[in-house]
Symmetry: C2
Subunit: 325 residues, 2 copies
């Protein structure tokens, strides 16, 4: 279902709405990694993560009369904000279903982006039933976070930009490390690179203990995570790769990588110090792999896609105090 | 001496070496300011500040045989790193004269960028004498931090980008607030805007108590600061505007603005939270004025040039703990 043509079409629809994030580098990071390191900072994207790409792509692909009835999403994080901002940009309603114990700031942000937030009790509420009822009553369209072709196509536009920017830098061969949850970004980027920069190879990066995609790729069949909580890399913790994303990753991606939480926090601090960007821990795992898992990376150049920057001040301040030189 | 043609020529020389930093925005900042706010994040420039532009411009404008003998600069901060990186990019030697009590990290960074750092004792050493002797012995060319036409021309390339990016956003009228020390960046940007975006007006922003440019503009004659220490905005504290920069600012700039240190720190934290960029306090004063001094700004859109992001972790962590929501 997902292919290069869909990504190129999404790029046309996103033009003038999405930010073309730059490609950053620092000689200090090159020295740590022992090779050239480039970082694509999707934290600078609208809403602070790449999720705006997929949200806009999905919204803009809907038939106007369907879109006009509004959209719905389940998320307590970056997907919520991406869909909310994309819906506002299209002038349509967005309902976001969030657990009532989600961070207050994330709830406030999602509301401030114009979405209607419906809270449910994780212990007693049935999120899917609430969503189903609202969708039926109002004719809302569900925007899934990753296993949805138009969302994958939107995320893939980051890969088109990487292909262009790598060519501008004269890079023809490199591993492209991608922070990976359900695989929407990774599979979209992989498809874009296959078409526009065949010497670049996408590789998923996950936190240790939550490396379902890595294990799925190495075993050849979808594997699940044992647990879904207990990581500061919350943005990229998902139960398992998607039914649509996994076959794409299996066909196109190099082996997965996994990093420790401490490595992610160190990479977050180094991105603060050397690139002047703000990453969340889950958005820093690709850079962490580039910096600290160099023996698992091939070639003289590596590109890390930093997926988002929505991190709590307390966590960030503590990491600075712990890991800044 | 400085004019638009020099800026355009500098832009040609910088092509492929300088980063075209994006223009960022957030609905949350718009809401605080009560108008549209755009931020030009020069913290994302090589070496973490706009100073790389002026350094590269000055180095690249030298006659090759002069440049080959190397350059020298006096700086403990952003200019040091900008000149060091530009010299390395040209394959020539840079000597940076720094006080021996400069932050160790800044000394280490300047050395890591390939410069020879010569330390002097602020109390007993004569910085100018050391510089003069080294220059004569080795034939080094002095790169002044702001009152130098080719440095102004380089900084002005940020203004050319703002003119282009404003046009892309459909902005024809706006105040462009610029973090201002000696006026190299402000005067360069003002010249670029005069030529390429005459509806945009550059305005210097300084910390309260160190607002020599603001007072100079309002009195019509160069005014000095009473003191040069005691501000977290150290990057933009200079004794007085330059002999070259001041007449340009006088001819082209709107009135200066001044913000408190607390406003600068709050803006730094908001840039972290809403734009996912890292600013130093001195690099955040323009955004602070856009957010908190709206009654002194004209029009429905304001552009803030965020000049740099080289800040100590301790200061940053403390600001997050104090001002993050």
């Amino acid at each position: 279902m997902s292919n290069l043509q869909m990504i190129e079409a999404a790029a046309e629809r996103l033009k003038g709405h999405v930010r073309r994030t730059p490609l950053l580098s620092s000689p200090f990071l090159d020295e740590i990694a022992g090779r050239r390191v480039f970082v694509k900072p999707e934290c600078l994207q609208h809403t602070g993560s790449f999720k705006f790409r997929g949200g806009w792509s999905a919204l803009s692909a809907l038939e106007p009369e369907v879109r006009a009835r509004g959209v719905i999403a389940f998320s307590s994080g970056n997907h919520a904000q991406g869909v909310a901002a994309a819906a506002r940009g299209h002038g349509v309603a967005a309902v976001i279903i969030m657990p009532e114990d989600a961070p207050k700031l994330k709830i406030a942000n999602t509301r401030a982006l114009g979405a209607e937030v419906v809270l449910y009790d994780r212990a007693t509420g049935d999120r899917d039933a609430i969503g189903k009822q609202l969708s039926e009553e109002r004719g809302l369209t569900l925007i899934k976070p990753f296993d949805e072709p138009q969302v994958i196509a939107g995320q893939g536009t980051a890969g088109l930009e990487i292909a262009e920017q790598a060519a501008e830098e004269g890079i023809t061969q490199a591993d492209v490390l991608v922070c990976c949850g359900g695989g929407g970004l990774t599979s979209g980027v992989a498809l874009a690179l296959e078409g526009h920069a065949p010497g670049l190879r996408a590789r998923p990066v996950e936190p240790e203990g939550f490396d379902d995609v890595k294990r799925s790729l190495s075993s050849g069949a979808i594997q699940r995570n044992d647990r879904l909580s207990g990581s500061l890399c919350d943005a990229i913790i998902t139960p398992q790769p998607g039914d649509i994303t996994f076959p794409i990753m299996q066909r196109l991606c190099g082996p997965g990588l996994a990093v420790t939480e401490e490595e992610a926090l160190r990479a977050m601090v180094l991105a603060w110090m050397r690139l002047k960007i703000v990453l969340e821990p889950g958005g820093a795992v690709a850079l962490a792999a580039a910096l600290f898992r160099g023996d698992e990376v091939e070639g003289d150049t590596v590109i890390a896609l930093a997926s988002g920057g929505n991190v709590d001040a307390e966590i960030f301040a503590k990491a600075l105090e712990t890991y800044a030189v």
